[in-house]
Symmetry: C2
Subunit: 158 residues, 2 copies
């Protein structure tokens, strides 16, 4: 028996409010920091995936290269990242997390995890595993729809 599209749509309906609400909570937690939402997102990518070029970071964060470049420049001014020669591409340096950058992200993220732990206490591990699987299949399916549709693909390349 396969699940009904209507039930899956319920999942999708949580996505927009969750995105807006969690962005507010993250922004509020950063209110006393020099680190902006954008810098936090770039630091997280570098912590998770290691050094990356600006276009690579943009692809993961689904944001235009120009926007990432601006955020990377701000992070570099704060000493949180540094640009190193890229062995793969001569013209596109590799952005690397500095020790202060790693420390800043970990400090911010630890505070976020403390808040999230209060919510996790109300859930069973199995439920969360199921949720991650559903979201994974949903994200892959929607990414595929986005590729299949020429109008969505055009937006993709902006």
């Amino acid at each position: 028996m396969t699940a009904d599209a209507r039930e899956l749509y319920k999942v999708l309906r949580y996505v927009r409010p969750l995105h807006l609400l969690s962005a507010r909570v993250v922004a509020a937690a950063l209110a006393g920091e020099q680190v902006s939402m954008g810098i936090r997102a770039v630091l997280e990518q570098l912590e998770l995936n290691g050094p990356a070029s600006v276009p690579e970071i943009g692809r993961v964060l689904l944001l235009p290269r120009q926007m990432i470049q601006r955020v990377v420049d701000q992070a570099a001014d704060l000493g949180l990242v540094t640009a190193e020669p890229n062995p793969a591409h001569r013209r596109s340096s590799l952005i690397v997390l500095t020790d202060p950058g790693r420390a800043a992200f970990r400090r911010i993220h630890t505070a976020e995890m403390r808040k999230l732990a209060q919510i996790a206490d109300k859930l069973e591990p199995d439920e969360i595993t199921a949720a991650v699987h559903v979201l994974d299949v949903l994200a892959a399916g929607i990414a595929q729809l986005s590729k299949d549709d020429p109008a969505a693909a055009t937006r993709d390349s902006r």
Copy 2:
């Protein structure tokens, strides 16, 4: 045994890409329509919750009243909604879906559901039920964090 915050964070990490990707797919599907993303969202609220005032729609969609008013005006120009006297508030009319508005939303939504059904085929009903529960607890928990935090509350009232 309660779930780990790190696992729950995996759920949260899907929220932003899913929001961006699904917005692209919805926008692409609307490319040939007079209905914009904003109008689609307002029509959906009215279909789900019945007639509502502009501030009420804004609260549900987490968008400023002024933005909702603009979208409602566009939808009214297209004959998709109409404003009726509000028995509860003399100064804030009730926005009501017209028959063409209901038909437009249902047509658009049926096409969306058809696409979603292909993805739902890959999932079990139990998994989706678990995912909806996790997202529900997560959304309620994050909304509470947003209320608890004075900086987030300020953003809330914008």
